[in-house]
C-alpha cells in the first residue's frame, strides 16, 4: 500500500491537495536517489566553493622533472599534470566550469526557449504550434555533433578579434577571451537542446489545456500570459524538472566533448574535457593512470548521478508508470 498516492483517494485529480512534501518524502525514501543527490551536493559545493579554497593555483605551472606528473600525495591530492599543475585544484575549477555552463544553458535553452516555446505551442496551437514544432523537427534532423563542430570551428576563428575588442571596451578585461569561448559553446548547445523539452511540455499542455480550471480562467477573461504563468506552469513544472534532470548529463556532456576536441573551453581555463584530453591516449594512461582517473571520475559520477536522479524523479512524480 505504500505506493498509494493522494490522487488515488481523490480520483478527480484536480481536487487533490498540494503534493509538494509528499514528493520530497518519496524521493528521500529511495536510497539510490539520496546517494545521487548527496554526490551532486558535493559536486556543486566543490565547484562553487572549491576554487576559493583550492590548495594550489590551478594555473601555476612547475616544469621540473620532480614536479611534473606526480602521483597522488598529501600535498597534491590528485597528483600533478604534465605541466606540474595541481590536478585537484584544476578539477575544482573544472567543476565550476561545468556548473556555470549547465546553469546558463538551462536558464536559456531549457527554461526560456524550451519551456517557453513548449507552453506557447501547446496553448496557442494552430500556426504558432506548427511553426515551433517544424523548426524543432529541422533541428532534430541535423547530425548535431558534426554541425556543432562546424559552428564552433567557424566562430573560433573570430575569437581573438572579438575578445580583444571586449577587453578594450568593456569591464571584462582579461577574462574576455574566456567569456567569448563560453558564449560560443553555449551558442552551439542551446539551439539543439530545447527541442526535446518543448515536445514534452507541449504534450503536457495539450492535456491540461482543456481542464475546467483553465476554461474557468479563460471565461473570466484572464490574459494569455496569466493563464500560462499561473494556471499551466504549475501543472507542467514536475514533468519539466524530470526532463531536466534526465537531460542534464547530455548538456554537460556537450561541453566536455567540445572541450575535449579543443573547440570549447580551452587551457589555461580548466574544463573536464581539456583535462581528459590532456590525460588521454593509451600510453599516457599506462604510465600515469592518475591523470585520467582523477579528471574523468568526478564528471562521470556527475553524469551518472543526474541520470539516476532523473529515473528516481520519474518514479516519484508518475508512480503509476513504473509500478502498476
Amino acid at each position: 500500500m505504500n505506493a498509494a498516492t493522494v490522487a488515488e483517494y481523490y480520483p478527480g485529480g484536480e481536487l487533490a491537495p498540494p503534493q509538494r512534501w509528499v514528493f520530497l518524502r518519496r524521493l528521500f525514501g529511495k536510497k539510490i536517489a539520496t546517494v545521487a543527490l548527496m554526490y551532486l551536493l558535493i559536486f556543486y559545493g566543490a565547484g562553487i566553493v572549491g576554487p576559493f579554497v583550492a590548495p594550489h593555483d590551478p594555473n601555476k605551472q612547475e616544469l621540473t622533472v620532480q614536479a611534473r606528473l606526480q602521483g597522488p600525495s598529501q600535498d597534491h591530492l590528485f597528483g600533478t599534470d604534465a605541466l606540474g599543475r595541481d590536478l585537484f585544484s584544476r578539477v575544482l575549477s573544472s567543476a565550476r566550469t561545468t556548473i556555470i555552463f549547465t546553469a546558463i544553458v538551462i536558464l536559456t535553452g531549457e527554461f526560456l526557449v524550451g519551456l517557453g516555446l513548449g507552453l506557447l505551442a501547446g496553448y496557442r496551437g494552430g500556426r504558432t504550434d506548427t511553426a515551433i514544432m517544424r523548426t524543432g523537427e529541422v533541428l532534430a534532423g541535423i547530425p548535431t555533433l558534426i554541425l556543432m563542430l562546424a559552428i564552433a570551428a567557424s566562430f573560433r576563428q573570430r575569437i581573438n578579434d572579438v575578445s580583444f575588442w571586449l577587453q578594450d571596451h568593456t569591464w571584462l578585461g582579461q577574462d574576455a577571451k574566456l567569456w567569448v569561448k563560453f558564449t560560443i559553446v553555449i551558442g552551439v548547445t542551446v539551439p539543439f537542446s530545447w527541442v526535446g523539452t518543448s515536445r514534452i511540455i507541449r504534450g503536457q499542455v495539450l492535456s491540461i489545456r482543456e481542464s475546467t480550471y483553465v476554461l474557468a480562467a479563460e471565461a473570466m477573461g484572464a490574459s494569455t500570459w496569466r493563464i500560462l504563468w499561473y494556471h499551466l506552469l504549475p501543472g507542467i513544472l514536475p514533468i519539466f524538472i524530470v526532463g531536466l534532470s534526465s537531460s542534464m548529463a547530455g548538456i554537460a556532456g556537450a561541453e566536455v566533448a567540445l572541450s575535449y576536441l579543443g573547440l570549447g573551453i580551452d587551457p589555461p581555463a580548466a574544463s573536464f574535457g581539456t583535462l581528459i584530453g590532456g590525460a588521454g591516449g593509451v600510453r599516457t594512461f599506462q604510465d600515469h593512470p592518475h591523470l585520467l582517473i582523477a579528471s574523468a571520475l568526478p564528471v562521470v559520477l556527475f553524469f551518472f548521478a543526474w541520470n539516476l536522479l532523473g529515473d528516481a524523479l520519474v518514479d516519484v512524480f508518475e508512480p503509476r508508470t513504473n509500478r502498476r
Partner: protein, 316 residues
C-alpha cells in the same frame, strides 16, 4: 496500407524537402562564414596572393555566397558532390564513399550488439521488478553509458591490449580481430537506453489481459514471456532504431579518431577543422537526409506492424 497511411507517408516525405533545403542553406552559410578558407590552409606558409586568387577562382570561392550555393546545389542534383581540398585532386565521392562503407559496417555491428543485449537485459530487468536485481542491472548499464566514449577507449585499450594482450590496436581492415574492441565499445554504452525502453514496454505488456489469459490457461512461464510478452513489447523498439542513429554517428567520430580507423567520423572531424568545404557540406547533408528519412521510415514501419497506431490522426 489504407489511404490514410499513404497520404500520411506522402505528407511526411514532402515535408522532408523543405527541412533538408533549410539545413543545406544553414550549413552552407555557417561553413562559408569562417574567415579562413581552404585556400589559406592549402598554401599555408607558401601563401602568395596571386596563387591564392587563382585557386579561389578555380574552386569558385571568389563568387558571392548565394551564387556559390546555387552552383553547389545544381551540381549536387546532377550527382557531382564537389572536390575535396584537403585531399587534393580527389573528388568528394572518391574520398567519402570508401570511408563511409567502413563506418557503416562498424555501426551496423555495434547496433546489432546494442539490441541483441539490450532487449534481453530489459526483459530480465522488467521481470525482476521489485527485487534488488532490477535497479542493479539497469544501474550498471547506466554507469557504462555515463562514461564518455573518449574516456572509455584509452582505459579499454590499456586493459585489453596492453595488459592482457588479447587484442591488437591499430586498424587492420574491418574483418580482423582488431575490430572487436572498437565495435564493442561503440555498441555496449547504448545497451542502457534500449534496456530501459524494453523494460518499460514489457511492464506495460505484462499487465494486459491477454497475458493473464495465457497464464490462466496454464502455459509455461517461458512460453508466456517469449511468445506473448516479449513479442508485443518489441513493437515500440522499432522507432528507437531511427532515434539511435545520431548517437551512433557521434560515437564513431571519437572511436575512429582514437583507434585510427579510416572512417567517416574521423574524416568529418578533420574536414571540419581543415576546413574542407565540400566534404563538410556533403557529410552534413547526407547524414541529415539519412536521419530524417530513417525517422519517417521507422514511424511508418511502426504503423504497419502495429495497426493499433493511427498515424497522423491523433495530431491536431
Amino acid at each position: 496500407m489504407g489511404a490514410g497511411l499513404f497520404g500520411y507517408t506522402v505528407r511526411r516525405l514532402l515535408w522532408c524537402i523543405p527541412v533538408l533545403l533549410t539545413v543545406s542553406v544553414i550549413v552552407f552559410w555557417i561553413v562559408r562564414l569562417a574567415p579562413g578558407d581552404p585556400v589559406d590552409t592549402l598554401l599555408g606558409q607558401r601563401y602568395d596572393p596571386a596563387v591564392a586568387d587563382r585557386l579561389r577562382h578555380k574552386y569558385g570561392y571568389d563568387q558571392p555566397i548565394y551564387q556559390q550555393y546555387f552552383t553547389y546545389m545544381n551540381n549536387l542534383f546532377h550527382g557531382d558532390l564537389g572536390v575535396s581540398t584537403r585531399h587534393q585532386d580527389f573528388t568528394v565521392k572518391q574520398v567519402v564513399l570508401p570511408k563511409m562503407w567502413v563506418s557503416t559496417q562498424i555501426g551496423f555491428y555495434a547496433m546489432i550488439i546494442t539490441f541483441m543485449l539490450g532487449i534481453p537485459v530489459g526483459v530480465y530487468a522488467a521481470l525482476a521488478r521489485g527485487t534488488f536485481l532490477d535497479p542493479l542491472i539497469i544501474g550498471s548499464w547506466l554507469m557504462l553509458d555515463a562514461i564518455p566514449i573518449f574516456v572509455l577507449i584509452p582505459v579499454a585499450q590499456w586493459f585489453f591490449a596492453l595488459k592482457l594482450g588479447i587484442v591488437g590496436l591499430g586498424y587492420d581492415g574491418v574483418y580482423s580481430s582488431h575490430m572487436i574492441l572498437p565495435i564493442l565499445l561503440l555498441g555496449l554504452p547504448g545497451v542502457a537506453g534500449v534496456a530501459r525502453l524494453m523494460r518499460a514496454s514489457v511492464i506495460t505488456v505484462v499487465g494486459e489481459d491477454y497475458v493473464r489469459t495465457a497464464r490462466a490457461k496454464g502455459l509455461k512461464d517461458e512460453t508466456v514471456i517469449i511468445t506473448h510478452v516479449a513479442r508485443n513489447a518489441l513493437l515500440p523498439m522499432v522507432s528507437i532504431i531511427g532515434l539511435s542513429l545520431p548517437g551512433l554517428v557521434g560515437g564513431e567520430l571519437f572511436l575512429e579518431e582514437l583507434f585510427g580507423i579510416p572512417g567517416i567520423g574521423q574524416e568529418s572531424l578533420q574536414a571540419v577543422l581543415a576546413p574542407d568545404f565540400d566534404v563538410v557540406l556533403f557529410l552534413v547533408l547526407f547524414s541529415s537526409t539519412l536521419f530524417v528519412l530513417a525517422n519517417v521510415l521507422f514511424d511508418l514501419l511502426y504503423g504497419v506492424i502495429d495497426p493499433r497506431i493511427r498515424l497522423g490522426e491523433a495530431r491536431g
